[in-house]
Amino acid sequence: MSISIDDVRHIAALARLGLTDARAASLVGELSTILGHMDVLSTLDTRGVQPAIGVGARGLPTRWDSGPPIPLERSLDAFAPSLREGLLLVPRLSSHESVEEG
């Protein structure tokens, strides 16, 4: 399986990774080569095989609906890049545009 420059641009956009044209172009080859090694999997018949999910687990443990939360030894002020009046700031978004924004 080889991938195109458009594929690279598409997945870079999904992953919010900015790529220069040169880097995008070289990734076409790098990723195609790696994916080429994956093609061997298609030779295996996996009909009826369950995908590995929750390997070794015996159900999902749950917790009581009570506190206290795991404490923070330092508050957001100590590590947030941009904070005002306790709110995290990011470049302006238009309202109502959620997932789809930008």
Binding site: L14, R16, P51, I53, G54, A57, R58, G59, L60, P61, T62, R63, W64, D65, S66, G67, P68, P69, I70, P71, L72, L76, S82, R84, E85, G86, L87, L88, L89, V90, P91, R92, L93, S94, S95, H96, E97, S98, V99, E100, E101
Partner: protein, 488 residues
């Protein structure tokens, strides 16, 4: 938009609606961490390593959220799956700290339910299918209008447990969609899983709507309509979008599969700026959470412990308390009111008098004071005691209303108030006759006309005596005595 326009196209065209309803569950703490979900805390106060998505933090599921989601599923007649799987829904947004939402995808908590939203003309019930109920976590809040040039993020809501309830595309009108939402909301109130307030955001509705010519059986291309903040808004948005789609189809065009945003102030829908194909959520099973395994015994226990649902309660109230349809409707509309009524009825032993008092005086006072039944000061036992005082002839109905006002104002018990304020019924003939004589003396013209046979004046005279007695006079005895005064 006009109703005439809707009526005109509805002759030839049919609206097809499916609804996706998100409901915040009423837990104390978040879905995957122990942070409080109380409303109104300072920004980002209710956060921890998990809901801030700090490097290395891991989710642990809240057992109570599972209980509430399961109760919801069972109340909607769904099959609760013995194994369900959490999945990651991947997308970037600043109020989604992990860059993915923990949700459920191809193996949801529950599937295949339904609810009834009324009956057809022939009496058969209208059932709307519930495709699935799944658990997920809420995002934080983005505040766009607080500061210039930047948006502000508050993660207090991040990780609040939600259920998403997805219906089949079974609704055929905006009225049916509205009915579905009202029935659903009532059920959720009855089983006490959520505050279900659209205004406060604890219930949110997205609608999928398409249009087709009447008689067609295949579904048209649907649009998703978002951003409604009331049931009324949902109904209007569906109508506007339906009219828009029919317009497109009639002109020979095709409906685009897209997201439309409802603008309540302009009464219109407009397409979201989303680029087509831009959502690719890359769902995959959440590796930090093994599959959720629910034992059959546990599911059956949840079914057994299910609070009474609205339909059951309506039937029971009609049967056990002999209430008419109107009484049943009023008293079961809200589960807390129904519980209040039932407590009064049980304590007083008189369901009819209880129904009259709760529907009359209690609801009137709630309307007057702006309280809800949950915050109403008067306990059902005290209302029952008041009804008992009336039944036993200790106070008159007129005095009882005065006592009730005092009960609300002071929180005191009715007998105490009756005693203190001198509202105990007076049935002493001598006292009653003395009041009658005073009134006859004060109103000689009316007295004379009554004496001459104008019987309708009896009410006026009795009223005057009642007033003089401050409502304490026993009306029955008073009537007899008044009549007797003139037969001698």
């Amino acid at each position: 938009m006009s109703n005439a326009e809707l009526d005109a196209i509805s002759a030839d065209w049919e609206m097809v609606v499916g609804l996706e309803v998100h409901v915040q569950l009423k837990t104390r703490t978040k879905a995957f961490c122990s942070c409080s979900i109380e409303f109104g805390a300072p920004p980002n106060r209710n956060t921890c390593p998990v809901c801030l998505a700090l490097p290395g933090a891991l989710p642990v599921l809240n057992a109570h959220a599972v209980e509430l989601a399961t109760r919801t599923s069972l109340a909607l007649n769904c099959t609760v799956q013995p194994v369900s799987v959490f999945a990651r829904k991947n997308y970037f947004y600043p109020d989604l700290p992990k860059g993915y939402q923990i949700s459920q995808f191809d193996k949801p908590l529950a599937t295949g339910g339904w609810l009834e939203i009324g009956a057809r003309a022939d009496g058969s019930p209208i059932r709307i299918g519930v495709t699935r109920v799944h658990m997920e976590e809420d995002a934080g809040k983005s505040i766009h209008d607080r500061y210039t040039g930047v948006s502000a993020i508050d993660l207090n809501r991040s990780g609040t447990p939600l259920v998403e309830i997805v219906s089949e595309p079974d609704m055929r009108s905006s009225e049916q969609a509205g009915a579905y939402l009202r029935v659903l909301k009532q059920i959720l109130e009855y089983i006490d899983v959520s505050d279900v307030s659209m205004e406060e955001g604890s219930l949110r509705v997205d609608a999928n709507v398409s249009a087709r010519r009447r008689g067609e059986t295949t579904l048209g291309t649907k649009a998703e309509v978002k951003n409604m903040n009331s049931f009324f808004g949902v109904e209007r948005a569906l109508e506007v979008e339906f009219i828009r789609q029919v317009g497109v189809l009639k002109a020979g065009g095709t409906v685009q599969q897209q997201t439309m945003l409802w603008d309540a102030t302009r009464n219109e829908v407009r397409p979201s700026r989303a680029k087509e194909g831009s959502h690719d959520y890359r769902y995959f099973p959440e590796p930090d959470l093994p599959p959720l395994v629910l034992a059959t015994d546990w599911i059956e226990k949840m079914r057994h412990d299910m609070p009474e649902l609205p339909a059951q309660r309506r039937t029971r109230f009609a049967k056990d308390y002999g209430l008419n349809e109107y009484g049943v409707d009023v008293l079961t509309a809200n589960p807390r009111l129904a519980e209040y009524y039932e407590a009064v009825a049980r304590a007083s032993g008189d369901p009819k008098a209880s129904a009259n008092w709760v529907m009359g005086e209690v609801l009137a006072q709630l309307k007057h004071t702006g309280d809800t039944i949950e915050t109403f000061r008067v306990r059902p036992a005290d209302v029952a005691e008041l009804l008992g005082l009336m039944r036993d002839g200790i106070v008159t109905q007129s005095a009882a209303k005065k006592i009730f006002i005092q009960m609300i104002a002071t929180g005191d018990r009715p007998a105490q108030i009756a005693e203190r304020d001198g509202l105990v019924k007076v049935d002493d003939d001598a006292q009653l006759v003395a009041w009658i004589d005073e009134v006859l003396a004060e109103m000689p013209a009316e007295a004379q006309r009554f004496r001459d046979g104008e019987k309708r004046l009896q009410g006026v005279l009795v009223g005057a005596v009642m007033k003089k007695s401050k409502g304490r006079a026993d009306p029955k005895q008073l009537n007899q005595l008044l009549a007797g005064r003139f037969t001698v």
